[in-house]
């Protein structure tokens, strides 16, 4: 009965601080051995994000989980790309300002030259 002391304790040597995405997906796809399943299920016995997530993910067919995650991440990167493009437009427009100033200077200079040449 010495195993009683192990309740709530990590299995020596096989417990990690984080549940990896690969491990979680393998669990959902039924690719883990009973020992591997038991290791993941240690998280289920706790109360927290992993436990809630494992429970919720049981309701999505395993084959769809990866695809859905991929779609969400793709959307996230799209959103980030839009923000980045917008920011680049604002931050890089110094060249546009320089071009505008140069054109204005040329116009003023041209106007002054024309005026001077008319007077002469």
């Amino acid at each position: 009965m010495s195993e009683l002391n192990d309740i709530g304790q990590p299995n020596q040597g096989d417990r990690k601080d984080k549940l990896s995405e690969e491990q979680l997906l393998a669990y959902l796809e039924g690719k883990l051995s009973p020992a591997g399943q038991h290791e993941v299920e240690q998280w289920l016995a706790k109360e927290g994000m992993e436990s809630d997530a494992l429970e919720g993910l049981q309701d999505i067919p395993a084959a769809e989980v990866k695809h859905t995650v991929g779609r969400i991440n793709y959307q996230l990167h799209n959103d980030l790309g839009k923000k980045k493009r917008k920011r680049r437009y604002i931050s890089d427009n110094k060249w546009a300002w320089i071009a505008i100033i140069v054109i204005l200077l040329l116009v003023v200079l041209g106007y002054a030259i024309i005026r001077l040449s008319v007077k002469i």
Partner: protein, 189 residues
């Protein structure tokens, strides 16, 4: 300067890079780490894949636009609470649950804060005997016999949710029994 790979950085380091460089790329990398877990949490509450997917995207948007200026000591915990509260809010708006039944959370419990090793095997055995039958069965099979949930389900014909609930509640009750016995001066001794 060499740009570090996001995979080698901790949550805190990614958050720091996001803040110092004002670059959402780092926050995106950080959020992506939790897509799967967030999807699962949303599914637990909303029970609908499309809604859960939308909820995760909304949480990402919230994180990108409303990240608190102050220090976040536990990003994962912060994200978890954000997701849970968002789901509860959606359920309230949908009228699925009564507002007074909603339990909003602003902090996360520290799991497994009981110092199990300080109890003797006899104390643990006695506490285990005080548990409800179903909880005791599941605790023994899971912790003492190292069975997986699937094996426990086959052995007991309980559902997945029942096994999870019996183990979680059994563990919580075990903790309460042990604490009670300790604070009341170990009446069994």
């Amino acid at each position: 300067m060499k740009v570090p790979s996001p995979h080698t950085l901790s949550d805190e380091e990614l958050l720091q890079l996001h803040r110092t460089n004002s670059d959402n790329y780092w926050l995106g990398q950080l959020l992506q780490r939790y897509t799967l877990l967030l999807l699962g949490v949303a599914m637990k509450y909303l029970k609908d894949k499309e809604q859960a997917q939308d909820a995760v995207q909304q949480i990402f948007l919230k994180a990108l636009t409303q990240l608190p200026a102050g220090e976040i000591l536990n990003f994962k915990g912060w994200l978890y609470i954000l997701m849970r509260n968002h789901c509860l809010q959606l359920l309230r708006h949908a009228g699925t649950v009564r507002a007074d039944h909603l339990e909003y959370v602003d902090s996360i419990d520290e799991p497994d804060d009981i110092p199990w090793k300080k109890y003797s095997v006899e104390e643990l055995s006695a506490a285990l005997a005080d548990l409800q039958h179903e909880q005791k069965i599941c605790i023994v099979l899971f912790y003492l016999q190292q069975k997986s949930y699937q094996q426990i389900m086959e052995h007991t014909s309980y559902t997945f949710a029942q096994v999870k609930s019996y183990i979680q509640n059994g563990k919580r009750n075990l903790k309460a029994i042990l604490l009670k016995k300790h604070t009341t001066g170990r009446p069994n001794e």
